[in-house]
Symmetry: C2
Subunit: 209 residues, 2 copies
């Protein structure tokens, strides 16, 4: 069983490298098997088709990224600093795994069901992290948030707006440039700064305004 | 010349009704000519092809909408009230002219050049309106805005994020539901409220924070 898990992890890691570099369409199961000197039969034993493997890879890298962020959270002081860190990590993650994520980022391509559920799951986790950070701000008396779930969602939607508006090509045909990613991050940080300031408590007697 | 302008306006209005109802693909120049009892030759004299006419229609309705908003602006007190009005009008406009706008809203379809320039122009005007409203807030001492252009842009991008995130189908294949438009408007208003609060001056001695 330990051996089986190890093999599964090896496959995920090899597949991550292939998919992240070449994308879904330009990667074959044979190439991944060759990278590992595994038989194709062994590969198919763990992952019955390419979409299943792709979804597992997506889940794998997304979970890794969330774990890294979650682990780092306690070391920050204040909501602003924490959110800036999260934004830095998010854009670094998207930049690194753009080829892998393009299927999910793209508004055009039909997302296979396996990936859709991974992405839906990732959105839930992302909202949970933002809620957690805002809740900590509420607990320390820094922020006032009336509807936590909705406020976290609005913040995430607003941040996504920077990406959608800057990226000219949502078809995922062209890889966004370094300048585009930098501009998205810069605008996201400014947006988040204004947004958090809009949630700040101004005086003890009048938390909302 | 007056007669010529009148004919042009008649064509624009008939074409607006057709395009707004049936969209670009499902409207023919013959139908528009028939609606007006004009010859096709006369129609083509004013608009050499369907894309040119479509772009003129788009420009026509967008300009009308901006004029209505601009005229109403002086009657509002304070930025918050003004922005809420602008958001109401924007969503009402998009709801009314969705079929007409889908080519521009859609991330998928290739936008013909004629329309792209109309949309680019409309974005400039939209930013100018938001800047004007924020500037009035700065002038009355209500707001503090360091970089006006960029702040207006961030606000518009964040508002667009609500639309992109709520609309599941960016292909423009399905007309968004009334519920989706209502939800977009509700989230946009909450976003704008938090955003404006984040720009508010808190004390005379410490405008920025």
């Amino acid at each position: 069983m330990i051996n089986a898990d190890k093999k599964r992890t090896q496959i995920l890691e090899a597949a991550t490298r292939r998919f992240a570099h070449f994308g879904l369409a330009k990667t074959t199961m044979s190439e991944i098997a060759q990278d590992l000197s595994f038989s194709k039969a062994l590969l198919y034993y763990y992952f019955p088709d390419k979409n299943t493997l792709y979804a597992a890879v997506l889940e794998h890298v997304i979970n890794q990224s969330f774990e890294e962020i979650e682990e780092a959270l306690p070391s920050f002081n204040g909501c602003h600093e924490t959110i800036m860190f999260v934004l830095d990590r998010r854009i670094a993650f998207i930049t690194k795994y753009y080829n892998l994520l393009e299927h999910s980022i793209s508004a055009v391509q039909q997302t296979p069901n396996e990936m859709a559920s991974v992405m839906a799951d990732s959105k839930v986790k992302e909202k949970a992290i933002i809620s957690k950070i805002l809740q900590r701000g509420v607990d320390t008396g820094e922020l006032y948030v009336e509807h936590m779930e909705e406020t976290a969602e609005i913040m995430l939607f607003a941040l996504a707006g920077m990406r959608f508006s800057i990226l000219k090509d949502l078809n995922g045909v062209l890889f966004p440039t370094k300048e585009e990613f930098d501009r998205i991050l810069s605008l996201q940080k400014k947006m988040a700064t204004i947004f958090l300031r809009g949630l700040e408590v101004r005086s003890a007697s009048d938390p909302q305004r």
